[in-house]
């Protein structure tokens, strides 16, 4: 395999798995999710590298306002 592709895959992998870790943790602690079911979101976040995570963030922007969630 071309070394350039290896770098691409590694970089995407790092970004994907760190993001997925944060978002799955958020998903597990969230009571309400868009679409009511958590399983499809787990699949989206894990299966679609990076862009699944962006999709999750677009539908759950409350993750960036933890202070409001506590109120």
């Amino acid at each position: 395999m071309n070394p350039e592709w290896v770098i691409r895959i590694i970089l995407f992998g790092i970004a994907h798995w760190i993001l997925a870790g944060f978002l799955l943790n958020d998903l597990a602690s969230r009571q309400k999710v868009f679409g009511r079911r958590k399983a499809p979101w787990v699949i989206v976040v894990i299966i679609i590298p990076c862009f699944g995570s962006i999709l999750y963030l677009l539908f759950h922007p409350q993750i960036f306002h933890p202070d409001d969630n506590q109120k």
Binding site: F12, F22, C50, F64, H65
Partner: protein, 241 residues
Amino acid sequence: MSKAAFKPFILPLLLLICALFYYFGELVDWATWNALRKNFFYGVHDIHRLLFLIPIIYAAYTARVKGAIIMTLVSLAIFLPRAFFVSPYPDPLLRMIIFTLGAGVIGYLVARIRNEGEKSRQLEVMITIERDKLRKIVGGMADGIIITGQDYRIRFMNSKMVDAFGEGTGLPCYKLLRDIDAPCQQECHIPDVIHDKHIRKWECSFPSGKTYEILAAPYVDSDETVCQISIFRDITKRKNN
């Protein structure tokens, strides 16, 4: 709809604007909007990337370190396709990684500063609550309390003491208690208490005709000065009987 309801959508909107701006040249090509074809959208994208600092800093401000990391990684995910497949300029990956690391550090620092600010605000509130509680306790005591410095100046009097002798904070204790111009010769225990760190108890009669039992102990004030804290108990009735 209230302003608060829009708040969660600020960040996705910012991100969308940044991403559109970042890939605007490609979007113009794809949609063949020739009127919008400007050289700026086809140059080196280092300046375009700076726009992503806004959502990263905003995320750090609202969601602290976690927000900064997530937004930095999301920005990285948006940068990667250009660095890998679009950019014709040299070292696109390296420039993108340097920017991402820098932006991540800035976001982290913003989050830390905000955390520290929040922590000091909470501490301030706690201190104020504790101080008020202590003031209520001291104010409600049946005995008088007076704190005197090494220079004989009164640093604090509780309300009981003010009722008995009048407000005298800042005045020398001998001036307020006895209306004289020099420290009391026989009955003053300040040197004993402050310098030798002894606890002293004695009885003292004042010109008003009242007799007090005084218990004095060393006390370190907030400015680290050793002072004397004295508790004045009115024993006039007991003495007269």
